[in-house]
């Protein structure tokens, strides 16, 4: 049962040959495979299969290529099968690419066609020969070709019956490296980037044209786009591995177009949404937030939240005690997926397949609209065996891959058919925007004020201790004394009366950085001494360290201490923090071995929290 998907290729090939339904779980396993040989083999076997016998949805696909279709056809057939579709192909003559596009009565444009897959390679856009000393002629040629391509596709969809899928095209190395001058090479590359931009623009201009960004997908998969031997010998510009990438894009598009996309993401909790088992380590002990591996789980939660923002329904499927989970999801400071974000939830000790079925009923959806993600091979196997129509994604292995594994299959793709939807601006990274934002300000102070930095300083809670210890262990630059208090020492100090451990989190208008700083302070009757203060360099230059010391000064004042004492031990890497005390008005009063001692009289000292920062105290 557990190994139901291991022999997926054997199972699928046998079923295709016997004319019996293909196993859903085997198809999901196929969708996650990168083995071109498997795709080719299954694609060949499925050529004579029927939709009725295989249980797949019949799909009509026109293929028009500027190159030899050859291996694309079996690979595409298997890829579409992985998405639940069995295509019948109408293939145009590759030697007559433009002629075919302009012939309105060609069978490729029949109304029954689900999509016309229009696939090109660089040869279509490049002259047979070109001069390296006249790149203007080359760029003019490329520009003219892409305009003609755009015109042809626009005509096809304007005739009204056809939906077209096309893609961006990689610039071959022979062109790029064939230019010896850096300036000419940049110019040609820019022209090529504009070519791809112009192809992508088709998708914004015509609701019946979809464009896959093949170039980005190739770069991300790091597969070779071209095998020179195959190109020269057989006019095959793309390797099998590259065709797999292209076929996956086609599958995602057709799944979305034919209503086979999934709507619900059902997530396990332990070792999927955070590291560790809640029942064993407690809410404060799970890995979430901070540095790796906690950061990987945070990023995963962020991605899930982003899917939810786009309409994906979330369901929680966890084997745990319900109360325990409810309080951890509500109270853990780093959790992003709070209980109310899940539209359905099943936290109990029953088999997960039954829980998924019950949640499907609750949502009035069929299990075949579910994607289920779990780190346990056992749970995945159980769900697969009982509900083969659920798409199952593995969440085990290195948590850094969680996001990729979730998103790579494109299970939730939808088509946005209105022009308004199409023009929705893309999401951009907060950091990049932060950079642009800074350009419009006269001074750093103005910028900081507009940034609306909120610093939250609080005494460490048991939830924070692991992250604080992690900061101590990993921070080298903004680390005043190099004393790396571990989790046990930090816990002891945070619980004792004569010490205070503080944690510091930062957010600004662009997002939440989470916990970025900590300090360990000994409270003597007359003086508070900062044993160490560490801060992530990510937030340097925003006055965060100053706010932390400002908070300490306020607390020291309140407790009646006369002196706030700071220490600094120079190391090879912490020069960035060497001036902290003197900049804040502390006086260098002496040294203990290599450690400098700086003091500030609490009484009469001006408040240190910068104006640009809103300090929140918990």
């Amino acid at each position: 049962m557990v190994d139901a998907t291991d022999g997926f290729l054997t199972n699928l090939t046998a079923a295709a040959k016997a004319g019996s339904p293909l196993g859903r779980a085997d198809l999901t396993a196929l969708a996650q495979s990168d083995d071109p040989a498997a795709f080719r083999k299954l694609g060949r076997t499925l050529k004579s299969a029927t939709a009725e016998a295989t249980g797949l949805n019949a799909t009509k696909v026109g293929v028009l290529a500027t190159y030899t279709v050859g291996p694309l056809e079996p690979i595409l057939r298997a890829s579409l099968a992985a998405g639940g579709m069995l295509p019948s192909f109408t293939t145009g003559d590759y030697a007559a690419f433009e002629l075919t596009l302009s012939r309105a009565d060609d069978p490729l444009f029949d109304a029954g066609q689900d999509v016309l897959f229009c696939t090109t390679d660089s040869s279509y856009f490049l002259p047979k020969d070109w001069s390296g000393s006249d790149v203007d002629a080359l760029t003019a040629f490329i520009t003219e070709r892409v305009q003609s391509f755009r015109g042809l596709l626009a005509d096809v969809v304007t005739r009204g019956k056809t939906t077209v899928l096309t893609h961006t095209v990689p610039l071959p190395a022979v062109v790029r490296d064939g230019l010896v001058s850096w300036s000419a090479r940049a110019k040609v590359s820019r022209c090529w980037a504009q070519l791809n931009a112009a192809i992508l623009e088709l998708a914004e201009e015509h609701s019946a044209i979809a464009v896959a960004d093949f170039v980005s997908a190739l770069a991300d998969e790091a597969v070779a786009a071209q095998d020179d031997r195959l190109l020269r010998f057989a006019d095959l510009p793309y390797t099998d591995a590259a065709l797999m990438v292209l076929a996956r894009e086609a599958r995602r598009f057709l799944q979305a177009k034919t209503g086979l996309s999934r709507k619900v993401l059902a997530l396990d909790l332990d070792n999927t949404q955070w590291g560790g088992v809640l029942g064993e380590v407690g809410a404060a002990g799970v890995e979430l937030g901070g540095l790796y591996p906690g950061s990987a789980y945070t990023e995963f939660q962020r991605s899930v939240l982003r899917l939810r923002d786009q309409g994906v329904i979330l369901a929680l499927a966890s084997k745990n005690d319900a109360e325990h989970v409810e309080s951890a999801l509500t109270e853990h400071p780093e959790v992003l997926l709070r209980p109310e974000m899940f539209s359905a939830s099943a936290v109990n000790w029953s088999p997960k397949s039954g829980n998924l079925k019950a949640m499907a009923a609750q949502l009035s959806l069929s299990p075949n609209s579910f994607v289920f993600m779990d780190d346990s091979r056992f749970e995945r196997g159980e769900v697969t065996a009982a509900l083969p129509e659920v798409a199952v994604i593995a969440a085990d292995g290195d948590p850094a891959y969680l996001v990729r594994n979730l998103l790579r299959g494109g299970w939730f793709d939808t088509l946005e058919l209105t022009d308004t939807d199409r023009k929705r601006p893309g999401l951009y990274k907060a950091r990049a925007e932060r950079g642009n934002f800074a350009e419009g300000f006269g001074s750093a102070d103005d910028y900081l004020k507009a940034l609306e930095v909120v610093v939250t300083v609080a005494e460490a809670t048991p939830f924070d201790v692991a992250r604080i210890a992690q900061l101590a262990a990993r921070t080298n630059q903004f680390n005043l004394t190099g004393l790396r208090f571990d989790q046990a020492e930090t816990t002891t100090m945070s619980e004792s009366d004569d010490h205070v451990v503080l944690s510091c989190s930062v957010a600004d208008r662009f997002g939440d950085e989470g916990m970025v700083g900590a300090a360990w302070v000994r409270k003597d009757a007359d003086a508070w001494e900062v044993l160490n203060l560490v801060m992530s360099c990510r937030v340097l230059g925003r006055g965060v360290e100053q706010a932390m010391v400002g908070w300490l000064l306020r607390q020291a004042k309140e407790s009646g201490a006369a002196t706030l004492r700071g220490t600094f031990t120079p190391s090879a890497r912490n020069t960035v923090s060497s001036k902290l005390w003197s900049q804040l008005g502390f006086t260098h009063t002496g040294d203990r071995d290599s450690t400098q001692v700086h003091e500030l009289a609490v009484d009469g000292a001006a408040d240190l929290v910068p104006d640009s920062i809103q300090l929140k105290e918990k």
Partner: protein, 81 residues
């Protein structure tokens, strides 16, 4: 050092799979182009599978010159060295 027999076996596996010809037929009639299922696209698929399985990169001229199962296997063995 590649074991000749295991290379021949591996090549036969791939041929059997891609050309959909039983192994016994291939052994009885080792000249590749005599088989009806042999064509240039199939040949290129065999090339890519052979290269993937044995981790070699062949000169296409040598690959195309191999007329029989054994010649193909020795082209692969040469590549392994």
């Amino acid at each position: 050092m590649a074991d000749t027999q295991s290379v021949t076996d591996g090549v036969l596996d791939i041929l059997e799979d891609v050309l959909e010809i039983p192994r016994a037929d291939l052994e009885a009639h080792p000249t590749l182009r005599d088989h009806e299922n042999w064509d240039s696209m199939g040949a290129l698929e065999i090339l890519s599978q052979v290269e993937g399985r044995f981790g070699v990169q062949l000169d296409l001229r040598e690959f195309n010159a191999a007329k029989t199962v054994d010649e193909l296997a020795s082209a692969v063995s040469a590549g392994i060295k």
